[in-house]
């Protein structure tokens, strides 16, 4: 059996699944308990698991991640929510300097099995300080795993995999996806980190996308079909570990690739993937390796502007047409 649930409800279901599975899993964050989260993605958890395991915190991001880190090194599996991914900047020391380096600097004495969940990206007219797609910030730090699901089933399965993972995982939920629905099978779902999914098969061009860009890439592929272009769409699902095998295998077949990123242009994850493909299979390539990104600007608030500058189906179609010419 399967049911249709929202991306938002999948977050609560994934957390509940793991809190039932393992009593050392504890969940903290701002407004996550009594209020059920500002996006209502954690509704019902307080009621089921009680205030010991589902705790509201002050607006103190360093205190939140510090609590998660100290607990993770001493036998707890914490999940910490940072309400908006933009706020990661207020606790960047923990994210970039403490959590990812501690295992290494202690030569393996300390393990940090923790998950930082955060609402990432644009599309909700929140303006430049509540809409950034910052997964590429995280990707540049050795020692952090970086996951970004595109659909409800993956939210549950990848969240479970992240919580069970022995390493720190930054889990980006794309906030414009919260109301979107998808089919989810009954029972426990536990996925695997570092495995990309080919969500649509094609033979002329490979479109590599992440999170909210996956839906747009699939829509673009449908449109390309009617234009006589067969596009394959890969949902990366995690940036670290990165499933380069799936990308390279696909690109060798299609001989062309575009990446679709929500983050601003410079040093986006697509650049890394283009560089890997260029280094490892350039002789199979028949068209320019192309990146579709948000321009290198802060994301504007007005809907007319935001819609124009996030990568759109039209821009993906246009980019694909250009590379197959």
């Amino acid at each position: 059996m399967a049911e249709l649930i929202t991306y938002r409800d999948a977050v609560a279901r994934g957390l509940a699944q793991e809190m039932r599975h393992d009593e050392t899993v504890h969940f903290i964050g701002e407004d996550v308990a009594a209020a059920g989260g500002v996006f209502k993605a954690t509704k019902g958890l307080l009621e089921e698991f009680g205030p010991e395991r589902v705790r509201d915190t002050p607006i103190s991001e360093e205190a939140i991640l510090g609590a998660a880190m100290g607990a993770a090194m001493t036998g707890i599996r914490p999940v910490a929510e940072i309400m908006f991914s933009d706020f990661l900047a207020t606790c960047w020391d923990l994210v970039a300097v403490e959590i990812p380096k501690t295992r290494y600097m202690t030569d393996g004495q300390i393990s940090l099995p923790l998950v930082i969940r955060t609402a990432n990206g644009g599309g909700l007219r929140f303006g430049a300080q509540h809409s950034q797609a910052v997964e590429n910030w995280a990707m540049s730090i050795p020692g952090l795993k970086v996951v970004a699901p595109s659909n409800p089933k993956d939210v549950i399965g990848l969240l479970a995999a992240a919580i069970r993972d022995p390493d720190p995982v930054l889990f980006f939920e794309q906030k414009s996806l919260y109301p979107t629905k998808g089919e989810v099978p009954d029972g426990e779902i536990v996925d695997e980190l570092g495995v990309a999914t080919t969500v649509r098969q094609g033979s002329d061009v490979t479109i590599v996308a992440l999170a909210s860009m996956v839906r747009r890439a699939v829509e673009a592929a449908d449109e390309l079909d009617s234009l006589g272009i067969s596009a394959e769409v890969i949902d990366l699902r995690s940036l670290v570990p990165l499933d380069t095998n799936t990308i390279i295998e696909s690109v060798k077949r299609t001989t062309r690739m575009i990446t679709v990123e929500e983050n601003p242009r410079l040093c986006g994850w697509g650049a890394e993937i283009v560089s890997i493909v260029a280094e490892e299979c350039i002789w199979h390539i028949d068209g320019p390796l192309t990146r579709v990104t948000t321009p290198h600007i802060p994301l504007p608030s007005a809907d007319a502007l935001e819609d124009e500058f996030l990568p759109s189906v039209e821009r993906i179609v246009a980019a694909a047409q250009k590379v197959v010419q």
Binding site: H26, E52, R55, T57, P58, S60, E61, E62, A63, I64, L65, G66, A67, A68, M69, G70, A71, A72, M73, T74, G75, I76, P78, D93, L94, V97, E98, T102, R103, Y104, M105, T106, D107, G108, Q109, I110, S111, P113, P142, G143, D165, P166, D167, G194, V240, P241, L242, D243, T244, N245, I276
Partner: protein, 365 residues
């Protein structure tokens, strides 16, 4: 060494008679039983404190020499002059309590009983170091001794110590986290975030500000709105204001014992400001010339090692016992130095290990 002094409460003179109900744990005993009939701490505790001070002093002096000889690279931040704080807490803590300290953390790491050879080898960048040469002077860690890391970003470890305390609270183990930091930390946000959360969640954590009057090169008083940078902030977070002479090992031990007992009993966090002074500059590169000569002079008079030595002698500890402790420290530091110098440097391959829990560093397939 810690292990022997931890049994000191058993030798206390009067707590069984005073207390009809059995002690509930080590903490209850430690909180009540160390004073001997004549009002002094038990001699075993006092000798333990002196031994901690001497070992740290001897180690730090050797570390400084090895820096000067070019055997230790990078930087180092010594606790010369500040040994009594790590010593007092080291003796007051239970073996399974957690220590979080800063880049000035040789003292606190050693005070938990961490192998001196492993610490020295880490300073020398050797494979046998406590962190395999990947941590260095600023990141000494020995989890098996409860030394949960030395953190080199100001303020970072206060929230992390909260996390370990929260975990102890969840698991119901009675463990306490003790978090050491400098005066400069009191003006960074993490300090304030951590104190608030610690109190709100009633965490078993003890924050210890080692106020040595200078952040790095700038006097803390020049950039802080209140006189006592930690203690004067305590009330903002519902904590009592506690100031202790950080150069008096016994005073530190007593205040540590009380704060740890409170934390262990579920009575929440404490913030202690220990007044002290570093004999040298901030780091190896700093001669400390910004400090007035009279001030340095006055604090050298209060050097915890000779002053405590004299006090122990005045109160009945024989010269022979003190010399025995000093000789043991010297020979331990000699052996640690020899061990470190003769240890191999890490294999190049070690740079690729332990990024991840699988032991490796791979980020792709």
């Amino acid at each position: 060494m810690s292990a022997t002094t931890k049994s000191a409460p058993e030798q206390g003179t009067d707590h069984d008679a005073d207390d009809a109900t059995p002690a509930t744990g080590d903490d209850a005993e430690a909180a009540t039983a160390d004073a001997s009939a004549d009002g002094h701490l038990d001699d075993v505790v006092r000798l333990g404190l002196y031994e901690q001070v001497v070992r740290i002093r001897t180690f730090e002096e050797r570390a400084y020499r090895l820096f000067m000889e070019g055997l230790v690279k990078g930087t180092s931040h010594l606790s010369l002059g500040m040994e009594a704080i790590a010593a007092g807490f080291g003796e007051a803590m239970r073996a399974d309590d957690y220590t979080f300290c800063t880049y000035r953390g040789h003292a606190h790491t050693l005070a938990r009983g961490t192998d001196m050879g492993g610490v020295m080898a880490e300073l020398l960048g050797r494979a046998t170091g406590v962190c395999g040469g990947k941590g260095g002077s600023m990141h000494l860690t020995s989890v098996e001794h409860g030394a949960m890391g030395s953190y080199a970003i100001i303020g970072a470890h206060l929230p992390i110590a909260n996390g370990a305390a929260w975990s102890a609270q969840i698991r119901g183990t009675g463990q306490v986290a003790v978090c050491f930091f400098g005066d400069g930390t009191t003006n960074i946000g993490a300090f304030h975030e951590a104190l608030n959360l610690a109190k709100v969640w009633d965490l078993p954590v003890v924050f210890v500000c080692e106020n040595n009057l200078y952040m790095e090169y700038t006097a803390i008083g020049d950039v802080t709105a209140v006189e006592h940078p930690a203690a004067d902030r305590a009330s903002a977070y519902g904590l009592p204001s506690i100031i202790v002479d950080g150069n008096d090992p016994e005073a530190v031990y007593e205040v540590a014992t009380e704060a740890i007992a409170r934390a262990r009993a579920g009575e929440g966090p404490s913030l202690i400001e220990a007044k002290t002074y570093r004999h040298g500059g901030h780091s190896r590169a700093d001669p400390g010339t910004y400090r007035p000569a009279e001030e340095v002079e006055a604090w050298l008079e209060r050097d915890p090692m000779p002053t405590y030595r004299a006090r122990l002698q005045e109160t009945g500890i024989t010269e022979e016992r003190l010399e025995e402790i000093e000789a043991r420290a010297q020979s331990d530091v000699d052996a640690a130095t020899e061990f470190a110098k003769s240890s191999p440097v890490p294999e190049l391959q070690a740079a690729y290990t332990n990024v991840w829990a699988d032991g490796g560093s791979s980020w792709r397939n």
